[in-house]
Symmetry: C2
Subunit: 468 residues, 2 copies
Amino acid sequence: MSEETHQLRCTECGARIAGTAVNSIFRCPDCNGLYDVIYPWSPLPTSADVASGSNLPNPSALRWLWQERRTSTLPIDQSGVWRFRDLFPIVKNENVVTLREGNTPLYEMPRCAKIAGIDWLLAKHQGMNPTGSFKDTGMTAALSVAAQRGFEWVACASTGNTSAAMAAYAARGGLRSIVFIPEGKIAWGKLSQSMDYGALTIQLKTDFDGCVRVLTDLVTRFPIFLLNSVNPYRLEGQKTPAFEMLEQLEWQVPEHVIVPGGNLANGAALGKGFSEMHHLGLIPRVPRISIIQAEGANPLYRSLQENGGKQLIPVKANTRATAIRIGNPASWRKALRTLNATGGWCEQVTEQEIALAKAEIGAEGVGCEPASAVTFAGLKKLVAQGKITREERVVLVLTGHTLKDSQYTIDYHRNELLTQEEVAGATPLQQAQHTLLRKPPVVLEADSDIVLRTLETHMKISSSVLPA
Amino acid sequence: MSEETHQLRCTECGARIAGTAVNSIFRCPDCNGLYDVIYPWSPLPTSADVASGSNLPNPSALRWLWQERRTSTLPIDQSGVWRFRDLFPIVKNENVVTLREGNTPLYEMPRCAKIAGIDWLLAKHQGMNPTGSFKDTGMTAALSVAAQRGFEWVACASTGNTSAAMAAYAARGGLRSIVFIPEGKIAWGKLSQSMDYGALTIQLKTDFDGCVRVLTDLVTRFPIFLLNSVNPYRLEGQKTPAFEMLEQLEWQVPEHVIVPGGNLANGAALGKGFSEMHHLGLIPRVPRISIIQAEGANPLYRSLQENGGKQLIPVKANTRATAIRIGNPASWRKALRTLNATGGWCEQVTEQEIALAKAEIGAEGVGCEPASAVTFAGLKKLVAQGKITREERVVLVLTGHTLKDSQYTIDYHRNELLTQEEVAGATPLQQAQHTLLRKPPVVLEADSDIVLRTLETHMKISSSVLPA
C-alpha cells in the first residue's frame, strides 16, 4: 500500500499525479494548468491506490478532536492551522514548521453592521497572524512541505505580505529564503519584515515578469522551492480559516463570506475549505463567497462583465491597496470556480470607498490594512443592490493588520490620501463621514479649560453626525 | 455583605480603600504612593469586610477551569487575559471590553539559546496581541473598569504603544479617547494606530511634564478616566501573561524570566502575577525576574548601582528603543519590589547590543520591536557574568511586534542605524555577526547563472560564520 496521503490534480485537464512527482513550477506539463491538492475523501478524490485518509473520522469525531486540541500545549495543536491537519495531511507531524498561526479573532462589528444596513456582521481578522497577514496560514503549510522534501532554499517574487510570511517561516524552519523584486521598485517599508527575518533580497535588472522568468528558470535548474501563489500547498493552509470560522460560530453556517480579490488564491482556498466541509458532512451547506476588487485592479470583475469569465482580461493595476494591486492574477480560474460553486458575486469599489471603509473598521477598534477594507466597502454595495438582505449573516475576511501600511493611515488622517477628483466622486453623506472620521491632531494651549471646550465641541459634532 | 470584590492598597503607606473610592489620579492622597489592586486571597489581603473571592477554587480546580475555557466560544473565554478572570475579579463579565488579547505564542528559540550559551530558551511574544504590543493585556482590564464605572472619555499622555492600545479598546467599548503629546514632538508613525482607532490627538504647547500636568488637572475636574501607567487596573491585565506562560509550560516554573525595563510597570505586573500564583499554591516557587534597560535610559540600573535603589535617579532618556525611552519611570518602586522578591537582576545594554539581539531574534523567524530585544542582549550579559547557568530555563518576554518600528529594521539593514562610535564599541565577534545578519538588497543582472553564483557565495559565507 502506498505511503502517499494526497495527490495533485490539474484544475484544467484533471490529470492526477503524486505530490512528490510535481515539477518545480507547480504547473501541469500537459496543459500548464494549476494544481489542486486532493485526498481520498475529496469531492474530486485521489485515484484508488492512495491509501491514507480512508479512516477519516466522522464529522462529530472531527469536531470533538479539533476542540480537544485547543487544550493541548503541543505547538502543532496550538497552531490554528495544523489543529485541522486531518483535512490536509500533507506532511508528517514532525516536519511541521509553525509560528502558532491561525487562532485569529472573529469580531462582532455592530457599528459597521448598522452603517451597511444589516443586523449581524462579523470580521474574521487574518491580520492577527504572526507576521500580520493571512499569508501565514498558507506559508506554514508550504514551508512544511519544503522542509519535508529536504529543500534548503525557498524563493518568491513579491515585495509585500508574501515575502514577509515566507521569510519568517523559512527562518523558523532553518531554510534560507530569497525575495526577487524588479530593480528600482524597492519599497523599504514592505521589505522591512523579510530583512528582519533574514531573507536575501535580490533586485533584478528587469521588470516583474522578468523576475518571474528568472525565478522559474532557477527553480527548474536548482533545488529551490517555489513559494509564489501557484504553489498548491499554500492554499491547503489558507483553507483552514474556513474551518476555524465555523468552529467559532458553533457550526452555524453564515449566509455570506466576503474576501478581498488580489491574486485570488484566498477566495479559492476558502471556497475549497467550505466545499470540503460540506462534502464531509461537517456543514449542511456552503456560504456564498463574494470577492471584492479595487476599481483600479479589477481583472476578475472586468472579465465577468465583459465575457462572463470565459477569459481573463489582465489590467495595469493601480490602487493604494497595495496587497491587491495585481493585474494578472494566477488563480483567477480557481476563484471563478468558487464564485460559481457558492453563488457569490464579484464587485469593485473605488479608492474613496476603500478609505472610508477602512476608517469605519478602525473606529470599531479593529483596524486593518487598506486591502482588507474592500470587503466592507463591497458589502455596502451588495446590500444596496439587494443581493444581501438585512437578516442575512455576513463574515468579512480581513487579510492584513493596520500596521502593515501605517503611511496610508497617516495620509488619510492628514487629508493627503485622496485626490480632489476622488473626493468629488463621493456622495455628500460619504464626504460628511470622511470629515467625521478623520482625526488630524489639533494644537492647543496647555490649559485645561481650553482643552475641555475643544472636547465638548468635538463631542457635539460627533453625536450629531454619527448614526444613532 | 459588601458587593466589593477588591480594594486598592497604597504601595507606600499601606492604606486600603475601596476600588470605587479612588481619586482620579490613582495616587494615595496621604503619601502620593501608587496603588496595588488586592483581593481577599492576596498575599497582602483586603480588609475583612470584602466578601467576594472567599470561595476561590483550589489550584487544581483553577487550572482545570482555565483549560476548559480554552474550548469555549464566548469572547470572555477566548480572551487570553479574561480566561484568568478568577484572579482579577475587577468587573462584571458583561462589562468586559475585549479584542481577544493574550493567547500569545511561547516560542522555542534554539539558535538564540546557542548564541547565549544556554540549553533552553523560550520567548513569550506579547507583540502578538491585537494592537501589536503587551499594552493590550493591561488596557482590556482598565477599559473594562472605565466602562463599568460609566466613563465616556479616557485619556493618556503617550505617543506610542500605550495610546494605540488605549484607542483600540476605547473604540471597542464605545468610549472616546484622547492622546496628549507635546507640540512639535509628533511622530506620525507612532500615531497612525491611535488615529486609525479614532482617538483624538491633542498637541499641547508645552513639554511632556506639562502634558501630564494638564492631563492631571483635567481628570481631577472632569469625568475622564486616566489610563497612564499609574492606573493600577492596567497591571491586573498585565499580570496574566505570567499565568498563561505557566499554563503553556504545563506548570513547570522556569528559573528566569527577563523583561525590558521602560516605565517598569510590566516587570512589576508579572511579578505580582507570579507572586499571587505562588501564594495560592499554583506554583511551588517564583522565577527570578530580571529587568533590562537601555544604557541611554537606565534610571533603575543607575539607582541600584549608586544608592542600592533607595532613591530613583531620573535620567534624560536617549535610546532608539523608543518603547523604553523613559527617564523617570512612575512604577520604579513596584519594579524594585519584584527584583527583591524574586532575586532577579537589573542590567543595561548598549545600542549596538540591542541591534544585534534584535537581528538574532529576527533570524529565528520571530521578530520584535527594538525594546523587546534588550531581553536577549541582557540574557547574554547575565550568562557571561555567571548569573544564569547553562542548564537553567529562561523565558524572554518580547513586548512589541517588529511592525511597530519598521524604520529601525530598515536603517539597520541599510547600515544606517549605528554610528561609527557605536560599532567601534562592539567586540570583533559582534562586528562579524552584524555583517552576517545584515541583509541589504543586492542588485543583479536578470540571469539565473549570475543569481546562482551569488547564492552559492552567500551560502558559503553563512556556513563559515554561523554557529555550527
